[in-house]
């Protein structure tokens, strides 16, 4: 077979791969993913089987025996744990948009930049030999198949095509392929459907090819397993140890060590981590992969021993080409087609590994090495995405060519299997930090970093140095006598530990220092806050409460568009817009087109996560932090208003207790000011406000006047009253009857408020209207001088509640005042009433020839009316009076007047003297009480039928003269009592004949008003009297009152009604 044939075949195969990749990529664009299924996922994990498996297993089986099996038994065993372990890693990675193993470890330990650097350097150095190994395999097999049967001569040489060798061409081609499928754009998810489809296809090809050659050797060249082993036993009785564990004591530990290393490597080699975790589309795929992947490993290893043994038999025990028995067996049997298939299978195994490994390395280099440098030097570029993409492409090329040069310089010296195991050991070093990080929250950054560095140093010392010695780079003396002849520093027998094989020895010392340092430092040092949060999120990935996010806010937060611009800079405009559209999908955006204050931190987190997908967690954190700090905004922990108890469910308990205390204060029945003070005190003390002020509306000043305050200085008090207008937030709260708050006083935009805020050094404040039945009566304000973002939604609810409690207290207090007032008035009225009743005569005087009747009907309020008789036969004095007031004072004055009259009237000769004396006597008291009395005094001499009377401004009494059937009004000159001290009262006389009727009354009756507003009046009174003129006095009164009541249309008189009727019978 010529090179041209092989080239054409490879070209054809590559074209198929391209077609598959494009197909998968375009399917994805249409929303369908052909790679998102558990079987494809399992096949991509088979990236584990590289050309090292493909060729190297047979080589190792033919030379050192069965321990190649450990490389595949390890993954089978670890897959028992995948449902818990791998799935957890996948969930965490999805949660945090992790893009590589370096990213994962950095992210776990507080998004640490330097931990990312350590892992990246370690990973890249660890896999470069591995890539070299793949290039070597392709190069060798290419030469082998092209030069057969002279392969033994030329296999190790570099075939040149126009000055360049095969490995170089292969490297260029692989780099190109990687860039096409993994670095065409910066993906915000780091999923490469095309590449994954190709890897899955390659896994199928390599399995088919290997099974084909296995079956050909076992059943074509030989007659089944029994035949091949029997022939081998017979031909090479001295090589029986190849089919058993070697009897040397180190074979046991080596088996154990290699199993352990492969367990770790299958998960933590960067490409394995990528295929398993990053490219995983559904964590449930793990369920299938955990048996399908081991099954794949079993199948691909099934014929390794027959091929190895068959190779030994065919080539008469020549092991110089043992690594390539797989290819040389069909070639020697002249099976060209099978040989090409095997070659293609081997090519697939190598190409897949190189591509995926270089892409994951490039991602790590970009995110964990380049980005921190760019960010460190704070390079200002408008659009970084193009540059980042090119850096990624360069990194891919760089990694592949590092492998190429390694192979060129060093590659020929070491057997395939050894190079692979060096990489495995490197991957194993990630295990402690990663695994402990999943389950142990205390595992910290410093511990992980020191552990990794020590592991890395020991790895170099115990594995790389010996391999450099073997390559002839270093003197062999280092191995045999130790560096500088220090025996205990021999790289393969460190600290005299010389009875272990090189792998067990290295595994022991690397992990001893790695885990030792990691545990010791983690236990003895503390985590930063950021680290704690990340640790918690990783360990508690399933139960981690997303609500806890909302405990922080962003001061001077950027707008959505600013976040988008920031993202565009790193991932390109289109990607940024797609991402934000997805994010905003189900979120509410307010009228200003921005998110609520508590949504902004989530947006920040989302932006960081999106950036993390392109540039890694550590870099994303730095980008966001730099960006925000440049704006002067920073994440602030929300001042936990509810004390030490965390928010959410527990908070409501706190909330309730505060409300309970406030309600207690309100219902305590204490003085209103005491209640207000205790509520303000509660606010002040519980929530550590700097000022709490309660203002009430004052009608006279038309201002909101400070009534109660807490934590305020008197200086502030002098300018604390507020006008009712919307220039101030307080005025606004009052007018709009709506809470006004500012979590960040820097955001206040009206000029008056800004002036106040600046003058008083207020950082945040809230004003809640205090209302009664929905009407504002005042404003409850609280201020903080130090904290921003106090006012969470929960707290605002509580705050409104407190304002409502104040309203209730106010209303209660008002009602109580009214009640007291009412009851006091009631009491007073009762006193007045009893005084008044006591003043009135309890029975009419019984004088023959006189029919006397009198009545006094107090109105609703206590009456000020008074009438009395003083009998001094044959005289009878009749007095009727009306005091202007209707209270106890008036009643007392009336009592005073009565006492005077009762005591003195008998001694005084005439009504004028009585009234004049009374006026003098009461003048001072009446003036002081601002009261006055109208009074009519009449003395009637029954024998002479002569009446003498004087009037002090009272209603004119009526006399009905039966002779003329007409009414006479009695009146004299005189002023009402209590106006002037010196009053001259006129005295008049008149005759009352038999049959005449004297009617005396107060204004209550004639001022009775009907619903038309007409007064009852004197005429109606006269008519009413005439109607019952022939009846006795009492009947006259009764009838008159009936008529008056009918007139006003109601039973109750508005004013007191007093009436005296005296009928002269004889």
């Amino acid at each position: 077979m010529t090179y041209e044939h092989i080239n054409l075949t490879i070209l054809f195969y590559v074209l198929i791969l391209f077609a598959v990749a494009f197909g998968a990529a375009s399917h994805r664009k249409h929303g369908k993913s052909i790679v998102s299924n558990p079987h494809i996922y399992s096949l991509t994990l088979a990236i584990y089987c590289t050309s090292w498996t493909y060729y190297g297993s047979v080589g190792r089986a033919a030379t050192t025996g069965l321990d190649f099996l450990t490389i595949y038994l390890g993954p089978t065993l670890i897959s028992f744990t995948w449902w818990f372990l791998l799935r957890k890693i996948i969930l965490i990675s999805k949660e945090h948009n992790i893009v590589s193993i370096a990213d994962f470890i950095a992210s776990r330990y507080g998004k640490s930049t330097y931990l990312g650097v350590i892992v990246t350097i370690f990973a890249v150095l660890g896999i470069v030999p591995y890539i070299a190994l793949q290039l070597k395999a392709i190069n060798h097999t290419f030469n082998l198949i092209g030069n057969w049967p002279d392969a033994s001569v030329n296999a190790a040489t570099f075939i040149k095509f126009g000055g360049v060798d095969t490995a170089f061409i292969v490297a260029v081609f692989l780099a190109l392929f990687c860039i096409l499928f993994a670095a065409m754009r910066l993906d915000s998810t780091e999923h490469h459907e095309g590449l994954i489809a190709v890897i899955a296809l390659e896994s199928i090809i390599k399995l088919i090819a290997f099974l084909a050659i296995g079956i050909f050797v076992t059943y074509g060249l030989f007659d089944g397993f029994s035949d091949i082993f029997t022939k081998f036993t017979n031909t090479f009785p001295d090589k029986q140890n190849l089919l058993r564990l070697s009897p040397t004591c180190s074979s046991g530990p080596r088996w154990f060590s290699m199993t352990f290393m492969s367990m770790m490597a299958v998960m933590f080699l960067p490409r394995q981590f990528h295929a398993m975790v990053i490219e995983n589309t559904n964590h449930n795929h793990v369920r299938t992969a955990m048996w399908a992947f081991p099954a794949y490993l079993f199948l691909i290893n099934l014929f390794v021993l027959p091929i190895a043994v068959g190779g030994l038999l065919t080539f008469n025990g020549d092991t110089s080409l043992a690594d390539y028995y797989v290819l040389s067996l069909p070639l020697s049997a002249n099976q060209q087609a099978l040989a090409v298939l095997v070659f293609i299978g081997g090519f697939s195994a190598a190409a897949g590994m190189v591509m995926l490994e270089s892409i994951t390395s490039a991602t790590m280099i970009l995110n964990n090495l380049v980005m921190p440098i760019i960010l460190r030097f704070n390079l200002k570029m408008t659009d970084m995405s193009g540059i980042l993409l090119n850096i990624k492409r360069l990194a891919i090329i760089g990694v592949i060519f590092l492998g190429y040069f390694y192979y060129h310089i060093l590659g020929e010296s070491a057997a395939l299997i050894n190079i692979g195991l060096i990489s495995f050991m490197a991957a194993t070093q990630f295990a402690p930090a990663l695994l402990a990080g999943l389950y142990w929250e205390k595992a910290n950054q410093r511990g992980a970093a020191i552990g990794l560095i020590l592991g890395f140093i020991l790895w170099c010392y115990t594995l790389l140095i010996p391999s450099f010695v073997n390559a002839g780079w270093l003197p062999t003396g280092i191995l045999t006598e130790g560096p500088f002849a220090i025996a205990w520093l021999k790289p393969t027998a460190l600290f005299y530990l010389d009875n272990l094989d090189i792998w067990s020895h290295s595994l022991f010392w690397t992990l001893f220092f790695n885990i030792g340092a990691f545990l010791t430092i983690s236990i003895t040092t503390k985590q930063s806050k950021q680290e704690q949060e990340q640790a918690h999120r990783f360990v508690q990935v399933s139960t981690w409460d997303k609500n806890k996010n909302q405990l922080s806010r962003l001061s001077k937060a950027p707008s959505i568009m600013e976040f988008v611009d920031l993202m565009s800079k790193f991932i390109g405009e289109k990607e940024a817009h797609t991402a934000i559209a997805e994010y905003l999908g189900d979120r509410t955006v307010d009228e200003k087109g921005s998110l609520s204050e508590y949504e902004i931190p989530n947006l920040k987190r989302f932006t960081e996560k999106t950036l993390a997908a392109s540039v890694g967690a550590a870099s994303a954190r730095i980008i966001i932090e730099n960006y925000l700090s440049a704006r002067g905004s920073k994440m602030e922990d929300i001042f936990n208003i509810f004390g030490t108890v965390s928010l959410s469910r527990n908070a409501s308990r706190e909330q309730l207790s505060v409300l309970y205390e406030a309600a207690n204060a309100v219902s305590s029945g204490a003085d209103l000011d005491d209640i207000f003070d205790s509520i303000l005190e509660l606010l002040y003390r519980q929530f550590r406000f700097d000022l709490c002020v309660l203002r009430f509306y004052d009608e006279q000043e038309n201002k909101l006047i400070v009534r109660n305050f807490k934590g305020i200085d008197t200086d502030f008090l002098s300018r604390a009253d507020r006008e009712i207008n919307d220039e101030t937030c307080i005025g606004k709260a009052y007018i709009n009857n709506k809470i006004q708050l500012a979590n960040d006083s820097d955001c206040v935009d009206n000029p008056v408020s800004v002036a106040i805020v600046q003058r008083e050094g207020i950082k945040s404040f809230a004003h809640a209207p205090v209302t009664i039945e929905g009407q504002p009566i005042g404003v409850l304000s609280s201020y903080s001088h130090y904290s921003k973002g106090i006012y969470t939604d929960e707290f605002i609810e509580l705050y409104k509640n407190l304002a409502a409690q104040i309203g209730i207290a106010w209303r209660n207090a008002n009602q109580i005042a009214k009640l007291i007032e009412a009851s006091e008035q009631e009491k007073e009225l009762r006193i007045a009433e009893s005084i008044q009743l006591g003043l009135l005569p309890d029975k009419m005087p019984d004088i023959s020839g006189l029919d006397i009747a009198g009545i006094c009907i107090p109105a609703k309020q206590v009456g000020g009316d008074y009438y009395d008789f003083i009998v001094q036969s044959p005289d009878i004095d009749i007095v009727i009076a009306d005091v202007s007031g209707h209270n106890v004072g008036a009643a007392l004055l009336m009592a005073e007047a009565r006492t005077f009259i009762q005591a003195r009237a008998r001694l005084l000769v005439s009504p004028t003297v009585v009234v004049d004396s009374l006026n003098r006597f009461l003048y001072k008291d009446l003036t002081k009480a601002e009261l006055f009395i109208t009074l009519f005094y009449l003395k009637y001499d029954h024998d002479k039928k002569l009446m003498t009377y004087t009037n002090a401004g009272h209603n004119h009494p009526l006399v009905y003269h039966s002779s003329t059937k007409s009414f006479e009004e009695l009146d004299t000159e005189g002023l009402i009592l209590g106006i002037k001290q010196e009053v001259s009262f006129e005295e008049r006389h008149g005759i009352l004949e038999t049959g005449d009727i004297l009617i005396m009354y107060t204004d209550g009756i004639i001022e009775a008003t009907n619903n038309k507003g007409e007064l009852f009046g004197l005429e109606r009174l006269k008519n009413a009297i005439i109607e019952s003129i022939d009846n006795d006095s009492q009947t006259i009164i009764d009838n008159t009152l009936i008529i008056a009541r009918m007139f006003q249309g109601q039973r109750h008189f508005v004013d007191d009604v007093t009436m005296i009727v005296v009928k002269i019978n004889q």
Binding site: T76, L77, T81, R244, F298, S542, T543
Partner: protein, 81 residues
């Protein structure tokens, strides 16, 4: 699946993992490290050729008992992680 059977299942996984590690490892395999052959195949190789697929079958059978959680938020249901 109840919490109890879930936790029991988890313990079974760990048990089988440990059994696997022991049985496919040194020194257990030393038992089969003998020169005898069965059907011409060395005992040790036969042990691996049977023990390995057996462990895969165990995983397969076990994986059938897992109820996938389709809750993408994956809260609550993954407390066993």
């Amino acid at each position: 699946m109840s919490e109890k059977s879930k936790s029991q299942q988890r313990q079974m996984w760990i048990l089988f993992f440990i059994l696997g590690v022991i049985m496919l490892n040194f020194p257990f395999i030393q038992i089969f490290n003998r020169p005898e052959t069965i059907f011409g195949i060395p005992v040790f190789i036969l042990y691996i050729l049977c023990g390995w697929p057996f462990s895969i079958v165990v995983i397969y059978l076990f994986s059938r008992t897992i109820i996938e959680d389709n809750n993408k938020q994956s809260t609550g249901d993954n407390n066993d992680l």
